[in-house]
Amino acid sequence: MKKTAWLLLSALCVPFTPALAAEPGAIQIETPWARESPPAAANGAAYMTLVNTGGETDHLLSASGEVAETVELHTHLMENNVMKMRKVEAIEVAHGEPTVLRPGGLHIMLIGLKKPLVAGQTFPLTLRFEKAGETSVQVTVRGKDAAAMPDGHAHHQ
């Protein structure tokens, strides 16, 4: 009898469990893209918008893929009109506010491209999140005139 009560109680609880923050899928990845690489360019960058649909702050810990020798998480710091690109250990993805990886800001740095990035093609990247775990995305390569700075050149200020 006691057992049945517990079962009932737990069944009742299920609908009230908050959004499944710890499960894969709590992070939505929107429009992963990269700009085609100029000839002779050895490196590239991938961008995307990360939306946390769960309740808890998550972190992008790493990205990996066959596209380049090394894949790292980077950011740009603009100090006195000097651009400093730095590796970051993780990228925070808080609930409620999308984390935008974009030109001039946070990006996934592709170091040592194995072959040039060609507009129209796609390549896979595996993203590893602290809570949401691993997920794979297809990154679309856009032409050189792809919207460069949708944020209105904020990084040049």
């Binding site: 000839p39 360019a41 000097v82 460069a148």
Partner: protein, 212 residues
């Protein structure tokens, strides 16, 4: 003083003042009657004279200061291993060239990308790289010493973070400004905002200024 003398000296004094005022303008004591325009960056007045330097252009030829004479040069410092900011700025400069061409202001302009990473950016690489952004673009680099000498005169900062274990995968901190060199090979302006429309508007304002 008798009243008649005041009537005599007052007009003479006023006339002398007027002549003096006229002379002061005419002799160029107030040469900046034209208000300097506001640009997205800094207008350098008078333009800054730059000491000669020796770079190496994309064909492997020496590139001296006299290559700047007789035209306006948009100058940008960066490196081709830069994945993001350098291509973006060069794309913006490419659009600027198209705007100026449309407005027939492009006959007398040049665009130069100077790599501050001579170890990895060999001349040929620079040629292929810059041509991708715009056929008018040219690339150059130089010895660490010559690059430092030129950059310092132009107020350009850069620092190679050469700490990578393999000595290859390093990044470079660098100023993102686009510089404008005048036809006398002097620094005329620094653009800190790279929207092609803004740079085109600022360039038009500078062209309208009296020659310096």
């Amino acid at each position: 003083m008798p009243r008649s003398k005041i009537f005599l000296f007052l007009p003479i004094g006023l006339a002398a003042f007027a002549v003096g005022l006229w002379l002061s303008f005419d002799l160029g004591l107030y040469p900046e009657r034209v208000e300097p325009p506001t640009i997205a960056g800094f207008l350098i007045t008078p333009p800054k004279v730059i000491e000669d330097f020796t770079l190496i252009d994309q064909s492997g030829q020496s590139f001296h200061q006299d290559r700047w004479r007789g035209q306006w040069t948009f100058l940008y410092f960066g490196y081709t291993f830069c994945p993001d900011v350098c291509p973006l700025t060069l794309l913006e400069l490419g659009k600027l060239q198209k705007i100026l061409e449309r407005e027939h202001l492009d006959q007398n302009t040049a665009y130069l990308f100077v790599s501050v990473d001579p170890k990895r950016d060999l001349p040929q690489r620079l040629g292929e790289y810059t041509a991708y952004f715009n056929p008018k673009f040219r690339g150059a680099t130089g010895t660490a010493e010559e690059l430092a000498k030129l950059a310092q005169q132009l107020g350009i900062y850069y620092k190679i973070l050469d700490s990578a274990a393999d000595g290859q995968n390093y990044t470079v901190d660098h100023s993102t400004a686009v510089l404008l060199i005048d036809p006398q090979a002097r620094l005329r302006a620094v653009f800190t905002q790279h929207s092609p429309d803004t740079m085109a508007a600022d360039f038009r304002k500078i062209l309208e200024l009296p020659p310096q």
